[in-house]
Amino acid sequence: MTSTVADHHHDEVPKGITRWLFTTNHKDIGTLYLWFAFIMFLVGGAMSLIIRTELFQPGLQVVDPHFFNQMTTVHALVMVFGAVMPGFVGFANWMIPMMIGAPDMALPRLNNWSFWLLPPAALLLIISLFVPGGGPAAGWTLYPPLSSQGGMGVDFTIFTVHLLGMSSILGSINIIATILNMRAPGMTLMKMPLFVWTWLITAFLLLAAIPVFAGAVTMLLTDRHFGTAFFDPAGGGDPVLFQHIFWFFGHPEVYILILPAFGIISQVIPTFSRKPLFGYTSMVFASVGIAFLSFIVWAHHMYTVGMPLSGELFFMYATMLIAIPTGVKIFNWLATMWRGSMTFETPMLYAIACVALFTVGGLTGLTMSITPADFQYHDTYYIVAHFHYTIFAGSVLGMLAGVYYWLPKWTGHMYDETLGKWHFWLTVIGFNITFFPQHFLGLAGMPRRIPDYALQFADFNQVSTIGAFIMGFAQLILLVVVVKAIRGGKEASSEVWENPEGLEWTVPSPPPYHTFATPPQVR
């Protein structure tokens, strides 16, 4: 074999729709993932606006309770599995090969399949909303026996989960193979950018967690239709078994959502502090530690199910421990900023907001890990506030930091900084107006997943809804920013920022269709 990279037809960029349908190019697939994630974000966000509209006032105004429950459920599923996870896979596709000096992902055809499993899955989920009986309405956690009650929509959801799961598994296999097998000469593991590290760890989490979820929903399916009694006490089963299996997946899942964001933050903060990342090694080990702990803390979501005392104690202690490696990360970021020389372009603003607000979410998470206190917090809006502070402020703001950071690299044009700042401030302010009051609501006793509430909760709910609309419509600015940058604008240099670290900044913006035809030599 000669040293040409691949088939000849591969050197020029293919044209037309089939470029996107049949592509095996990591950048094209990355782009597909990112657009898919963004559309899903708008769809899931629109659902959250329906939720917030109904909750604007006490009483039933816009939707009936059953539809409300469907919105809650599908909002969460779309956001988690449609927006955030694919969004990060998009980043992985675009950036990992460039960051480690690889010509492409290790298994390009598989890569195409991972992406093209998503649209059918999303379609199934959307269809479920329109069949008789409606979509899934048992919450994104799909607890039986409630989830045994729904109609056809629940079955669609189960298959959605199967397809999404296949996509995630294939995607992670590809990422692992790429990172372990495709690094440029000299790119040792401990020289890899942190984003690559966190994705490597995330991929392992996915491989271990997603199949378990697939198993759980499969049991749900057979319980619903084929007479099994996994979750039916009359047949010797136990509904709580589902919760155990679900959360064995579900807790690692939340770190799947956050670790890539941590990776992005670890790239952005050093660049705009003009100072190398503080504590690289401890960052790596902290991520590994978080990943390990994530598999032994699942039952902190189930303190109220009546576990034996020993179980409650174990899961409480184990959960509290996660604060330590996470704290290490927070402190390392602070130490990176310390005595740096900072500027505050949009990516940096997002990174800072992400660290600050995630700290809030993480700390409330810590309060919930305390079993006796969680007896009060559990299933209230305090939880809703906690996880939007971690998921939105952590994962989504982290992702937005990444979008602004690499957008000039992807498109070859600088984005509009003014619009970026507008987007940032509206998002962050809107976010806090939406979710900070929810802490109060939860503490004061408002349960989650209700379409209607007692009068004493009215004011904060109103505030929260106003915030949601500010935050929601601010996201349309992002659309404008991205489209403008694709269409044109100031040419971006290959470095884009001032002396950023990493191989991706050594190639032109936008990078050629095949970045590293010959592998770069790393120091």
């Binding site: 104690l313 007896f375 299933d379 004493q456």
Partner: protein, 267 residues
């Protein structure tokens, strides 16, 4: 210039620390707005309340420290002020410190939490037993030794929900039959459900517990105060999950006996 810089900064501080929400509230109504756990009226609820206040204090301090360092850096080490970047990449001393100190804090939190948990799980030596059964959508109460049992369901009229009538004071938190409990008695609850999982929760009495079909969970309550206390189902249980409230009425012993008598006569 200075002013705008200052405003920018305040904006940043407020929004980033998440206090922004608090500041836009008109001050006159602020007092009525409930922002914390409801006033506890049992030992368990009190223990939870104290624990909650303690950990809130700890995390507030931690958060403030993190923000303080962060904003100090943001203000002090900006390029526009001519800050020159340092070159250090790690410091074993600092890293050990910020591993060890959090560990100690966590241990400090774990001890009282363990104690509280042990107290809550001790359902022995109760004075009476009430079996609580959740169903879609309401509660069934069974005073096991007294041969008294009844259903308890939402009493708020549909017209208030749809808005054709003004909403009453206890909108959504009123039921046809109160669960009546005697003052100062240790009541052991046995919780189960008929169809799907529900959770029984009256904040002022203490934490919640799931009612799971096919299984029985236990919890206990000893009310120190008479009065009416309201709560709600706290586990998504279908369409009317938001409409299955709980109302507990704590009365003194004489009234309790009289109530029991009346109940029995009702059959």
């Amino acid at each position: 210039m200075i002013v705008s810089r200052l405003m920018q900064l305040t904006g940043k501080v407020l929004s980033v620390t998440g206090i922004a929400g608090l500041w836009i509230f008109p001050a006159n109504v602020q007092a009525e707005w409930k922002v914390n756990l409801q006033r506890p009226i049992t030992e368990i609820a009190r223990v939870q309340y104290d624990l909650h206040m303690m950990i809130m204090a700890i995390i507030t301090v931690i958060a403030l420290i993190v923000f303080a360092v962060m904003f100090y850096s943001i203000i002090r080490f900006r390029k526009s002020k001519g800050a020159q970047p340092a070159k250090f990449t790690h410091s074993t001393k600092a890293e050990v410190l910020w591993t060890v100190i959090p560990t100690l804090i966590l241990i400090g939190m774990a001890v009282p939490s363990t104690k509280a948990l042990l107290l809550m799980e001790d359902t022995t030596e109760s004075d009476m037993v009430v079996k609580v059964t959740g169903f879609q959508w309401g509660w069934h109460y069974d005073y096991m030794e007294e041969n008294v049992s009844f259903y308890s369901m939402l009493a708020t009229p549909q017209s208030q929900i749809t808005g054709s009538e003004t909403k009453g004071e206890n909108y959504l938190l009123e039921v046809n039959n109160h669960l009546v409990l005697p003052l100062g008695k240790k009541v052991r609850f046995l919780l189960t459900a008929k169809d799907v999982i529900h959770a029984w929760w009256v904040p002022q009495l203490g934490g919640k517990k799931d009612a799971i079909p096919g299984f029985i969970n236990e919890m206990w309550v000893r009310a120190d105060e008479t009065g009416i206390f309201r709560g709600q189902c706290a586990e998504l249980c279908g369409k009317d999950h938001g409409y299955m409230p709980i109302v507990v009425e704590v009365v003194d012993d004489a009234q309790y006996q009289a109530w029991l008598e009346g109940r029995r006569n009702q059959g």
